[in-house]
Symmetry: C3
Subunit: 346 residues, 3 copies
């Protein structure tokens, strides 16, 4: 019997199946540092313990996306080792901040299955949760991936396509315990623009760009213990350049978005996300955002802004057109990420 | 109104203007680790808590240049986002060691302005201070940069050119509280050469060299939250290779200088610094030093050595000639950095 | 007198010579993080404080190979700065786990000398020990290197060739105090295969591969304060690509071996090791293992597995043939590493 990890194929899943994923991981201040070395992160809450304490938190939390990546990485051996494509995310909520010293574990439940007409692949929907060492859920999200069948002749399962919310309802966003922006220091945060200043429909070109390097995306992807071969081994891509983990692009774009959204301190919800096109080393990533919605929260000093974060490659954001008249994504778009951010209100 | 950070142009400054810079930053043991991964640092005081305690400090401090970079990085959005060139440094003093857990903030005051004859740019002099969470100044230094005007037609300000000391007087160097080299272990430090063994005029070829990589200088520059586009985005350089942050070269040269100056444990003063020529990935950096001066300090076991640290690229240090007969820097010189180091005395 | 470090030449050594190596180093959680960014490490004991505590340890220890590299790096200025080749390792034992906050120092004793027939080089055998700040030995191992003579005319020393054990006897392996796998969680560890499931002669193709990058191997090598010029300066290789530190390959192969040996949580002994061929950036490393032996230990829940870890480059492991009929290593083999791992027993 082979002792290597084969990963699951489409016919290995059934709706209701629960998986506890391997490799618990203690995050540390080292993770905060290396995250800041890999992405041009300047959100003050993730940079300064003092700033975080002035906002009512016990210390500077790990970047929400770092927490997402740690949890996501654990799911790869069970969910996407034999995946053809990562199709989307939804119903994501960041529930409890992660602090250095916390140990994260992850589990998933299969919530949907649908074989493709080719008979060679199928779509698997999972709901994944990440917990800390106290059993508190730190993140939950849905993901759907196209997974190969081991045997094309295996019978198709009954199709179950879950109905996912188009977006997390603002009333369901979790505000970290103690978070209070009423003494918010906008000089130290680096941006004078508060929640009140953003209006749905507004677009922001984040101006800055960053060329991607193999050493960097591989370091990031290993840090999250994501083992998909296409990120490391050219042979897994028939010699083509290594594919960059999509989460690397999300983190890069989110960090670039500081320039224009400097007070969007925390990600609270992940409404959707699509990796529209792949990136490889040598590509340069730019980003722009569109304000989709805004909402008050249960905490008077904290507002929620729903944002579409778009990453484009190799030419600056320019006209910020997401899709052409044919409904297809504009050339150069690599990421379409829809999330809720928490910002200070005046 | 655009929400991105435009940076200041020459006509936005006035003498006496004070700026508190954004993004306070808590430094951690992670910063110490990654600094040691990026630069071949072997100074024992920055490597070992035990060695530092034997020298009277509470723990191993963050490398002085790392503290400098953290503070410098914060000034970029306000001082040098629209800079043409970083012209020089002076009157720098490292006043209080920085330890893991400290949170640094930075502020600057404009101390000089002089429009260039072209009318398109001007020189801005600032004095920058970095503070820790207790309000102690950890570093202060002057810097002058050439900054673009937004509008070439804007009137020139009255010229104010500050008189900066040619060097920090040795009597003004701050010796970290408790520092005592009287039980110094030269076996563990890796060098038998004490302050007493160095004489003004002496030159040292540090022998070792290191080829520069894009992934490394970008990681360093992001770590310091330095956002200048030329370091990350080829489009900001019309497609030319990304420019390496000058501070990356200072840190690389300083680390290489261990080989010959292994007991120059701390930087206490920055007398001057010029980035003579740019570096890009693929360049190999070598370094040599010249002893410029030496002085006792208030602590009998601690001597101060004034050093010129010269980085050259792509050919080993060789004859260690700083300038040709025409007074111009020799080919290959990329950095001329004048500083005070603290060393053990016999 | 030159103040740079000349390193020792063959005639500088004598049997019985003891050297305390420079640059004590405090390891931190930052080291754990960066180790995980550089190598695709998924062994749960090195990833999670909670998992480590469930196995009877006070916290997640630093990866055994990271401890090895820290100690090894310290020996380079004294042992191998003028080395032609690193010939082998043996009699290695990992005696005490290293935890964040520990400070490591290293010392070596010359245990053998033999001049080569050319008269230009000789082989030096050393036994190296690494200690923590409490004076506990954390690692000991022998290494032999071919070192240049300064003066080919210098007389040859009396040949002393130490007799090294072919392998560490299983009874001499140190089991970390408190280690107990009786409540081992194989779901969290990511592998259902226990010590009982492996049989001598069994070979395992670890499937995964990773392409090597200059930025990564230099970061690793600097992290271990290994100063050998060939890793950083192309001029030290007459312009050829920088040579990758052999330890980088050991760590990469060991991390890749998770896929098939996911419960081989700790390295306890190093029986031998040969860097069969060099690697440079651009090479892709794959790994396979062969079970050489197995033994019970003094702790009923802990078994010892003797493994040969083989790294190959640029083509997947394939047929896992170590040597051809001529007794020579098969093409592509770059590392032959023989070690004892500690695993849970049923």
């Amino acid at each position: 019997m082979s002792k290597t990890i084969p990963g699951n194929f489409f016919e290995d899943y059934h709706v209701g199946q629960r998986m506890i994923h391997a490799t618990p991981r203690t995050v540390t201040v080292g993770d905060r540092t290396i995250y800041g070395a890999l992405y041009p992160n300047r959100f003050a809450l993730q940079s300064s313990d003092e700033f975080a304490r002035a906002c009512g938190l016990p210390a500077s939390p790990l970047d929400n996306l770092a927490a997402f990546h740690v949890v996501f990485g654990k799911t790869v051996p069970d969910i996407s080792l034999n995946a053809v494509a990562n199709l989307g995310y939804g119903e994501g909520r960041l529930l409890t901040p992660v602090y250095p010293g916390d140990t994260l574990t992850a589990a998933s439940e299969v919530i949907g299955l649908k074989q493709n007409s080719s008979g060679k692949t199928g779509v698997v929907w999972v709901r994944t949760t990440g917990e800390n060492q106290r059993g508190e859920t730190v993140i939950e999200y849905c993901r759907w991936v196209m997974v190969r069948k081991r045997d094309a002749g295996a019978p198709a399962p009954e199709s179950v396509v879950p109905e996912l919310a188009e977006a997390v309802d603002a009333s369901e966003l979790a505000i970290p315990e103690g978070l209070d922006f009423s003494r918010y220091d906008e000089t130290l945060s680096g941006s004078p623009h508060f929640w009140d200043d953003y209006l749905p429909g507004e677009k922001i070109d984040h101006v800055d760009g960053c060329k991607l390097e193999d050493a960097e995306h591989m370091m990031a992807t290993r840090l999250w213990q994501n083992t998909a071969r296409v990120h490391f081994d050219p042979a897994a891509r028939d010699g083509a350049p290594r594919l960059i983990y999509g989460g690397h692009i999300i983190s890069m774009a989110r960090a670039l978005s500081f320039n224009g959204l400097g007070n969007a301190q925390l990600i609270s919800g992940i409404n959707g996300g699509a990796h529209v096109a792949p990136c490889v080393a040598g590509d340069t990533v730019y980003a722009w955002s569109e304000v989709l919605d805004k909402s008050e929260t249960a905490v008077p000093s904290v507002g929620a802004l729903r944002l579409r974060l778009v990453a484009v490659k190799n030419t600056p954001a320019g006209d910020m057109i997401l899709r052409g008249e044919d409904g297809k994504y504009s050339p150069g778009v690599v990421l379409d990420f829809d999330y809720w951010a928490l910002m200070p209100r005046r």
